[in-house]
Amino acid sequence: MPCGPFVVRIRTCSEGIADGLHRLYRDFPLIPEGDFVDFEVEVRAPGLLRSVVRPQVGFYCEGRAPFKPLPRHQAFPMLEWGLNWVISTHAHDHLVLHAAVLERGGRALLLSADPGSGKSTLCAGLVHSGWRLLSDELALVELATGRVRPVARPISLKNESIEVVRALGGDVELGTVCPDTTKGAVAHMRPPVDSVVRRHEPALPAWLVFPRFVRGGQLDLQSVGKAQAFMEMVRHAFNYGFLGGSAFDALAGLLDRTTIMRASYGDLGQIVPAIDRLTAADGR
């Protein structure tokens, strides 16, 4: 199966994963047997004992486990976290940023924020209003061109945002809700067909937004200076130290070509039209 810039082979006997793959990855092509595979991943019980007593599952990449095992009912979220790990620790031909990426009119919008700021919820809202999903979690900035390469995997939603996104309407399809993970309840939203089909089409960034959901808050948009944004994005980069000088250049290039805003909001109904207005005005 394609997984961002890589091809992965997934082995598992978990029904939760089979179900999740059927529902959320149904538009993805199967890579023919015998083609080059970048990573073999497996989700299985860590040992005989743990397949029977308080059953657990572990994520294995080429036989190695980057994380501690989790209870068996969390198999699908574990696969998703594992695949994020595979991309963020190996795609070093890119600057890897913790950010959601969307595209409209050939130009990309990056949403970067700490966990719990409502980034994924906003991402789902923008997808619902017609933006193309490039990624919910990882922005892969090509070092040579500055373009962002799509990952186009399911959007990970937590706790109340699951129902907020479900309420958006009929075209939203969510997988099974998995309760009691370390991040609370987790469910994934299927990426639209268009995003999956156009998963090889990168886009040049034009906007960088730092969103922050404030319960009951009013819409507030403020522009952010480049130096401040730089320091913030270094914090959100997975491989900044790893890449050294080329990461600096890629990040500086990104900030030079983007309008940078900080946005706090209390409701998707405020922020989605505001972003539409901002990007439409810039696009003219």
């Binding site: 083609d35 080059f36 970048d38």
Partner: protein
């Protein structure tokens, strides 16, 4: 079927020994080769070997990408190791001591072929035993902090091991191991550390005033250390360490008096056995060029009979890359045996029992 699997298990070793083998690989073969090389921490070395054997061009684009990234990483690592050694030298300058770089940092600063494509997890240095405390305080002053907080582990290192607990730099996050000799004294093998320091050679051509007191072990001692490190341990990065040895033997082995000197030093230091293992397994896996007499001598000096057969069986498997394509039941068993053996070799039975008891009690907590 099992035999077939085992041959595949050695795919990375086969290609490193003979890069022309890469021309026969299909896409699935390349997937396995890249996976094995990644888990063995040898993608950079594989890039180097394919390039020098004229076989890099036959890699499919998707495989080539992993190789190129690993090569770039290894180049950055080389610069990073130089930079780190510069900081260590600055921290230790006022002590005016001989400081010997060991393993990866020595291959890198010594500009040895073993450094090509290699990545480094830490920097290892060796200083005179008498200066250990002064060195530790100087490093603490300069921002290194002990990684091991636990009292038992602290005592274990200081009382029984050949190094103090690993230090981590508070801002760079780099790890530094400070040794006072090349094998744990508890193993019963006690090379003369003073002699190792006396025989060490200055680092040439770096042009840094700060590195004036820095050395690398003499070639023979460097090989003996590398062999002892590999064959007294649990083969965690076994194939990578064996490849280091292969490159060292290949590089130094063409000097006239080298083999006689190496054998002499092995006897003096009590490391003839790991040397014989190194020679036999380098030749078996990587076809290291050896003088006929040395090959015969090394083979003759290994244990015979049931014990010899068991050792051979275990070592052949423990030196496979840690990858699902090689993880058959017999390989897992061999790895477990190698783990037990490494502890047995490093400590006398009484100490081993106490050590295991401590670890077991702590694991429960």
């Amino acid at each position: 079927m099992k035999r077939g699997l085992r041959n595949e298990g050695g795919l990375i070793a086969a290609v490193l020994a003979d890069p022309a083998r890469a021309h026969d690989l299909d896409a699935a073969g390349w997937s396995m080769l890249i996976g094995q090389a990644r888990n063995a921490d040898m993608l950079g070395q594989l890039h180097f070997r394919l390039a020098s054997g004229g076989a890099l061009g036959c890699a499919p684009q998707a495989a080539r990408r992993h190789l190129d990234l690993a090569w770039e990483l290894s180049c950055r690592h080389r610069d990073a190791v130089r930079w780190e050694v510069f900081h260590i030298a600055t921290a230790l300058r006022k002590l005016d001591l001989p400081v010997v770089l060991l393993k990866g940092a020595a291959y890198c600063l010594g500009a040895l072929p073993a450094a090509e494509g290699r990545v480094f997890n830490d920097v290892d240095i060796m200083v005179p035993h008498a200066a250990l405390t002064a060195v530790e305080y100087a490093l603490l002053d300069a921002g290194w902090i002990p990684q091991v907080a636990n009292d038992y582990d602290q005592r274990y290192y200081r009382r029984w091991m050949h190094e103090i607990p690993p230090l981590e730099h508070k801002s760079r996050g780099t790890v530094l191991d400070v040794h006072h000799t090349i094998v744990p004294p508890t193993s019963g093998v006690v090379p003369d550390a003073g002699e190792l320091l006396r025989r060490a050679l200055p680092i040439e051509g770096e042009g840094w005033q700060e590195l004036a007191g820095f050395r690398v072990l003499a070639p023979e001692d460097m090989i003996l250390h590398s062999a002892a490190h590999l064959f007294f341990n649990e083969f965690h990065k076994g194939l990578r360490d064996l490849f280091d040895l292969h490159r060292l033997l290949e590089h130094f082995g063409c000097r006239d008096d080298f083999w006689a000197l190496l054998r002499g030093r092995a006897e003096e230091t009590g490391l003839s056995q790991p040397l014989a293992d190194a020679v036999v397994h380098c030749e078996r896996v990587f076809r290291t060029p050896l003088p006929e007499a040395e090959r015969a001598r090394a083979r003759a000096s290994l244990p015979e009979g049931v014990v010899g057969a068991m050792r051979g069986w275990m070592l052949r498997r423990a030196l496979l890359p840690d990858h699902p394509s090689c993880s058959t039941t017999d390989v897992s068993l061999a790895r477990w045996m190698a783990f037990v053996r490494s502890h047995w070799l490093r400590m006398p039975p009484g100490l081993l029992a106490i050590h295991l008891l401590h670890k077991a009690v702590r694991a429960k907590e």
